[in-house]
Symmetry: C2
Subunit: 419 residues, 2 copies
């Protein structure tokens, strides 16, 4: 089945917001085996919206729109769709009630303008909005399916997952199952070389790697008559990927990110971690505490952004700082050890280095990073070169450094406690 | 002048990457007064790319593409464009040399596949790629302008700004100038109400507010024959906005974000800041250290994620924690004071509260946040309620809390040292 995503909103055309809705919807549709052939963005303009909607419906089985369902005069999506299909807008009692309740709850007045949101194309099905006032619309007519969703991602995402996706699932005959193999510390080209045969010869399941923010994710997707059958097709493929890539570099399957994998592993091992950050400035502790429930395994992070604090709070010896400078494996190891002792955690991790744009020298260039780790058995550091040599790399270098520190801790736990 | 942005890449249609190129290009074109009427995304498919490119060129004066300029067989943008305009691809010597140098520099071999990138439509103009191997293309033909840029944002952005924009600027007759007024701690609807008259009556300059991540930005844009004339039109409008909104709530004009405004202000005042974070887990120190040169004003951040560390490292009295709990104004104030004393900074800021999804009670619900501030004169805290009542709000609550802490420090500096 072919689909198009049509996003409506002048703010997207002005570049004021990044169109994350298109990415979210594309990903979800891909999971269902619905192929998105085009994403389009148009402004809040009746004529151009109409032309784009007609074109999208002509060329596709399914069209998903986002935006233009609100109460103001320039919210036109429902009106335009109704006109295209020759349908009237009718008051939907359930939506009316939801809107009334929502307004009451948030102490706002019920106005006719706001009630405009409860009018839906005749014969369509209201998609409940658990996070706002504008209901979505599911409309099946003339062999086409049109799903209209609100613009704010916080409203669109739960509405799609809870109410639109179950209806769309019924349209597809096969079940699709995807699993993601998350890989760190190997480059994309190496992964591609190692998996080339699988990637090029297999058609179901398919194997597709992609790289982002210094990580490689391999998506394995199977279509089958049932979920069980799809899972059975995927399992040997993932086993083979694990054999080829090696479990050392696979930090998780279907985990959202490195920090979640690390928090899960720490919980499983009953260990705590502490962070000492210079270069990353709090990014590692921020990423760890992103994970709900991380307080079980994380108590203390020190951002020591000067040598004085490295010495005073973390106890990095002044001689180490003087002899090796703050950009050294010795300092990184001492920072990790310092925060481990200070906090009483089992593992301490640290970062120090030069994120740029200023501060680099020939000897210690921008991108030179030391990631430290300390346990009761050892205090160590790894030297990394994270510059790609162009552009403003400060945030990228910091992010990659934080990922390496998280990975180092995870790897250590695997060494100590098994996979 | 009308423009369309056409992004090419199956990875966008699969939702594997968010299309930030479209937002970047839209923003830059808007600044030049070029109206983007549509953004389109198609996959790496010759027929669909051709149809979309033809349609975009039919309906617009300018078409900007991103993606599909690389060396592999599914990079088709240049080939498709050349075919549409009836042009041959010819070797561009300068691009050939650039590619050779780039490959040498990165110790890679020169292959015919890679050299494919140096072939451009006859009569077109090569846009230099300072961050990769694929040059861009600027083609003016049959009254249309087609600009083809590479897909990776790190290559596209500098190429557009340095090489494409100057050529496009020559097409527009007027000069456009925009300034951004950055507002915090007032809701979007309040700002809209206060500025409604300006927004609805003015046409040049225009006044347009938009809200993002708990902040409101008002964009003031003027078109004129010269930059000086545009600036002169904008100045009284910004003055008026400052009068209406009040300087307390305007944290900067044309500053990238709160953390940059704060670091600039700290530098101007010659003061240092330190952070003590519970709820935000390092996000504040991460945001401060995002700003290049922040080491002048920031030395020490403590992420005290447990009461034990709040007491042991920050010196929050055990009685305070016992009597008021960690979610209290008293604890926030003591944390801020603790980190100020520990670090020797002039200002300490802190956060504590409940980010959810777990941990909330009727008395202390998710979203209850205390932001603390300490100077030599006082240690204080502000209570905030940051939950909107639906969805997974953890990251939003943490982000808003970090913004409030940064704003509180900035406000304090303004009180002490003037605007």
């Amino acid at each position: 089945m072919k689909a198009e995503i049509l996003c409506v909103g002048t703010e997207i055309l002005l570049g004021d917001i990044v169109n994350t809705n298109a990415a979210f919807l594309s990903r979800e549709l891909a999971k269902m085996g619905i192929n998105v052939y085009r994403q389009t963005v148009v402004g809040d303009n009746a004529n151009r919206l109409k032309a784009s909607l007609r074109d999208a419906l002509d060329k596709n089985d399914i069209v998903i729109t986002s935006g233009g369902l609100g109460p103001t005069y320039d919210d036109l999506t429902k009106e335009t769709a109704a006109a295209l299909f020759g349908l009237e807008l009718k008051l939907d009692e359930a939506s009316k009630e939801t809107i009334e309740n929502f307004l009451k709850m948030t102490h706002r007045k019920i106005t006719p303008t706001l009630m405009k949101q409860a009018y839906l194309p005749d014969g369509s099905y209201a998609l409940k909005n658990d996070c706002g006032t504008a209901p979505g619309v599911y409309l099946e007519k003339n062999g086409k399916v049109l799903v209209m969703l609100p613009g704010p991602p916080r409203e669109l995402q739960p509405m799609f997952l809870n109410y639109a996706e179950p209806k769309l699932m019924k349209l597809t005959e096969k079940t699709m199952v995807s699993h993601m193999v998350h890989i760190f510390d190997i480059g994309e080209s190496t992964v591609e070389t190692q998996l080339r045969e699988m990637m090029t010869t297999m058609t179901n399941p398919t194997v597709a790697p992609y790289a982002k923010d210094g990580e490689v994710t391999v998506r394995v997707t199977a279509f089958a008559d049932s979920e069980t059958a799809a899972e059975a097709m995927i399992k040997p493929v993932i086993d083979e990927i694990q054999t080829i890539i090696g479990n050392k570099h696979i930090y998780g399957i279907d985990v959202p990110n490195l920090q979640t994998a690390l928090v899960q592993k720490l919980k499983a091992c009953g260990k705590k971690i502490a962070t000492a950050e210079s270069l990353t400035g709090g990014l590692i502790s921020k990423r760890i505490t992103e994970v709900s429930g991380s307080s079980e395994v994380f108590e203390c992070g020190i951002c020591s952004y000067s040598n004085r604090i490295k010495n005073k709070v973390l106890g990095v010896p002044q001689e180490t700082l003087d002899k090796y400078t703050e950009y050294s494996a010795e300092t990184a190891a001492a920072m990790a050890e310092g925060v481990r002792r200070l906090s009483g955690a089992a593992i301490g991790i640290s970062t120090t280095g030069i994120a740029g744009p200023g501060g680099g020298t020939d000897e210690k260039p921008v991108g030179l990073v030391y990631v430290g780790i300390s346990t009761e058995h050892k205090s160590d550091a790894r030297e990394l070169h994270l510059s790609r040599g162009f552009g403003d790399e400060r945030e990228l270098i910091r992010y990659l450094a934080s990922s390496h520190a998280l990975y180092l801790a995870l790897d250590e736990l695997k060494d100590q406690f098994g996979q």
